[in-house]
Symmetry: C2
Subunit: 389 residues, 2 copies
């Protein structure tokens, strides 16, 4: 007996209420509107958008956004870059440090492959040793392709990157000394600022970020090296980087699906009205006096940015989701008129954080016509699921 693959749980043309649970479902109408809003926003501000594929992990969705004007993808991992290239994406930036020589040989091989397809590969560095290792791998690759190298500066995230200023100038000059490395600009991303609850706090944080990036850029230019690009930003703060005149490229990825966590925060009026487009479909498998239990626990959605919320569209009553372990969710009725859902009832959860939620599935089920009456239009493969290297 062959185990039944998850993909067969949904069939093209199937009605949305027939999809077995748990399932990761995209509302394609909402997703398409999010893409249009982002494309218009980027056009208006005359910035490039390079959506982070660490979010959706799907070459099909990367190419869909490219058709709408996106400039390739960002990724965090060498193996994510490989998965995107395999799916036909030709313009890829790894916004992260790669240090292990086995991976750097893969990076060099991928740079050659993308160059041969008329594309390019970019990568971030934050240490002299990282630059030397990358240069060595490029020379050993046997190809004469180059690679775009971004110097990562820490603009408040407190993770990778050198401090803004002279340390970054030294790295940029070190990059420029290697013929196979093209100094391509600055990687400057403040991830924690994306999730500040107050719109004013996010604005203030990014004001600092922009100042630090501009200062570092000017120092590098003063040292004689052009700085083609400052890149970074995310869905929570993109209005500020886009309007800065300093950032030439936005890396926001979450706008495509939107997290419950972003929805909890105060919206900036200038931010496009992105909609939730990713849902975990779940079903009630047990009903008690005090609560109901559904079949989606934290094996069905990531909980690093908080628990999922329960979409109201098919329920019409307020339900609170509580953690019931790997395989179960606990549902409590909130408020006077609330009551618990019946056994077998289908519910829609909005994940707290899309990126690691997508990583738990092999396929996303694309539904057209809404989550009440729609039908399955396509099954979208999560090409970079489990891409850890």
């Amino acid at each position: 007996m062959k185990a039944i693959p998850e993909a067969l749980a949904a069939i093209i043309g199937q009605r949305v209420d027939q999809i077995d649970t748990p399932a990761l479902v995209i509302d394609l109408g909402a997703m398409d509107r999010n893409i249009q809003r982002m494309a218009e926003f980027a056009r208006k501000h005359q910035v490039r958008w390079r959506p982070h594929a660490k979010m959706h992990k799907s070459a099909e969705l990367a190419l869909l956004m490219q058709q709408a004007g996106a400039q390739g993808v960002c990724v965090q991992k060498t193996s994510e870059a490989e998965a995107m290239a395999e799916g036909g994406v030709r313009d890829i930036t790894i916004t992260n440090q790669v240090i292990a020589m086995p991976k750097l040989h893969r990076v060099a091989r991928l740079a050659a492959l993308l160059a041969s397809r008329g594309g390019r590969l970019g990568i971030a560095v934050d240490s002299p040793e990282g630059i030397e290792r990358l240069a060595e791998a490029m020379v050993l690759s046997g190809s004469d392709a180059g690679i775009d190298v971004l110097v990562e500066i820490d603009v408040g995230q407190g993770r990778c990157g050198v401090p803004p200023g002279e340390a970054a100038v030294a790295l940029a000059l070190a990059v420029a000394r290697h013929s196979r490395l093209r100094f391509a600009g600055l990687q400057a991303y403040h991830g924690r600022a994306q999730h500040l609850a107050s719109a004013a706090d996010r604005r203030d944080a990014i004001t600092q970020v922009v100042q630090q990036a501009a200062k570092t850029r000017d120092l590098i230019i003063a040292a004689g090296l052009p700085v083609p690009l400052v890149t970074g930003s995310g869905t929570g703060t993109l209005v500020h980087e886009a309007a800065s005149g300093v950032y030439g490229e936005l890396q926001a990825g979450s706008f495509l699906f939107m997290d419950a966590d972003y929805a909890r925060n105060e919206r900036d009026p200038a931010q496009p009205a992105f909609e939730h487009a990713l849902f975990v479909k779940t079903q009630v498998i047990s009903v008690r006096d005090t609560h109901a239990v559904c079949d989606a626990g934290h094996k069905s959605h990531a909980i690093d940015s908080g628990l999922p919320t329960v979409g109201q569209l098919s329920v019409g009553r307020a339900l609170r989701y509580a953690n019931g372990g790997d395989e179960h969710g606990l549902l409590y009725a909130e408020g006077d008129k609330a009551r618990l859902p019946a056994l077998g009832r289908m519910l829609w959860l909005i994940p707290g954080h899309c990126d690691p939620t997508v990583n738990l599935y092999d396929f996303m089920i694309g539904v057209r016509g809404g989550l009440t009456l729609g039908t399955v239009e396509r099954i979208i493969r999560v090409d970079a699921r489990g891409a850890l290297h």
Copy 2:
């Protein structure tokens, strides 16, 4: 270009220090000792052990424990049961409610398959409707195989199950009215008690559990129905259920690998000295004045039961791991003599919770000879990775 599968990152015979990161690595010596300790413990207490495969998700490891005396496996999901059956396991209990008819047809088909192989399938129920649906699927299956049905009682977990006592008697009698359903006993698991920090608190919680299970068992017997089995327990409390005289079977699974979370709690002196056997190998990819950054974030390990701890075996200094997002971990040196690891340094993380950590990988790398000088002995497939249905 074909994306490079994670499995190829390790090769049989390779030295442990050559394994690229992040990687999920089993210390096979420690795992084997854990199996021997559990087998001895169960023999001594004359209880069966049916390790929960929701933990390791691997048919190969299930069969290894069967050779050491384990009675098949438990699982939480229909698709996990299918994955175990496909891998050759013939004695499987689904310790959970299954309500969706498409899944119940799969359950019925699996019951017939396992019966044809001389095995059996068991399942839990906690509602009259669940029993009726299961009976309908069994009748429609076209096979005359039966299925073992456990009535689940809620002994303190506050999730699925009916209250101990009369409600369970009614369900047991309802099961017995269907010729294709065999009433097999009580499912009585208190998950939260596993993780109480104090050994005395765990003992007190399980004293209550055992009383409730015994009372319910006696009521069912008084109603004229034999109760072949009371089953449940976990790694945190197994000393108490094993000594109870009420439980005939232990479902503990985590003992095989041991979580960092279990290690944080006070150990019961009667508990076998299980060792950590599952590690995430990671590498330092950036070093700052204040901290270092490694390439394992919460895409590499689950954080529902706390962050991983940093294994000291290859470092010799105290490092604290802090969350750095999906793809990064932040490492801080603790104490006077502590210092940060160098760029490229390999480290070993002990995951807070093994079950959902294993779910993030396609393969586990089995190392023989310890994590310093050992070599890769085998690559173990995570058969039930992503088994959500």
